[in-house]
Amino acid sequence: MLIYILTLTLFLLGLYAIIAKKNIIKIIIGLAIIDYAINLFFILIGYQRGSIAPIIPKNSTIKNFVDPLPQALVLTSIVIGFSMLALVVVLAIRLYEKYHTFDITKINKLKG
């Protein structure tokens, strides 16, 4: 139970970084931290105490494996997180080139 709560605090820290921080880099870091917390939570859900990784060894009949399904989903979500990060970095570069600052408060040409 304590591990789940610690992961949730990591998730909240990332959320805090996105909401409270004004600098684009800190927002990107917040996004990355949220991705880390969610991937960690997925793998924690699939852990079986005292069992080995889900690779069937060659000639042994060990049957207690960790749950492989969350690992398949986490592989997908890591790659989604990275592609989101790449897109945000590309946007941050273009915004820096146009506005010459990373500060959100100065990037507000859109009104209304």
Binding site: A17, I28, Q48, P57, L75, I78, S83, M84, A86, V89
Partner: protein, 182 residues
């Protein structure tokens, strides 16, 4: 086992606080890298080797990408303005969410025994027993990714394709053809 995980998690939380609060952007990106590597070690402890490999490599690449963004550009985060209202509200909300979390996290199965869910690990045991007979793939995770749930990975490969295409589209120099008349 739990002690190692909790200590690594504490390390990650401290790293996250450093990454969010420091003025110098370079050190915040470096501490983000440190969190990623600690996460990779946690994956190894939780018995997820190929997730650890992918996480490690993607962590290195995202570090290189972030450093490319920061170097030769602004490196001080001068937007920090601490007023006690924001700090107080943050602590207040985290407090509420954690106490709420304590109640509803009881319903998720205890850490370490996956058979307490509603379907008693029925899908889990099917994957374990049939990965070798039906698909002859000892690595059950690869079997799930590419055969049982291959449709997910098709979407997955498309996500990377879209992100690259989006990056190419956003980084081109002339967006609109400037028509000379208007």
């Amino acid at each position: 086992m739990e002690i190692i995980l909790i200590s690594l998690l504490a390390f990650m939380i401290i790293g996250a606080i450093i990454a969010i609060e420091t003025y110098d952007l370079l050190s915040s990106v470096i501490s983000l890298g440190a969190i990623g590597f600690a996460l990779c070690i946690v994956f190894l402890f939780l018995g997820a080797p190929d997730i650890a490999i992918v996480q490690l490599i993607v962590e290195i690449l995202s570090l290189v990408v972030l450093l490319k963004l920061i170097l030769k550009r602004e490196d001080k985060d001068d937007t920090v303005n601490y007023n006690n209202f924001s700090i107080f509200s943050v602590i207040f909300f985290t407090g509420i969410f954690i106490t709420l979390a304590y109640f509803f996290l009881k319903e998720i199965h205890k850490f370490g025994n996956i058979f307490q869910t509603f379907n008693k690990g029925e899908i889990y045991s099917y994957y374990i027993s049939n990965a070798l007979e039906k698909i002859k793939a000892p690595n059950i995770v690869s079997a799930i990714i590419l055969d049982f749930r291959g449709y997910d990975t098709l979407g997955e490969a498309t996500v990377i394709f879209t992100a690259i295409l989006g990056g190419l589209v956003l980084l081109r120099k002339i967006g609109r053809k400037k028509d000379e008349t208007k």
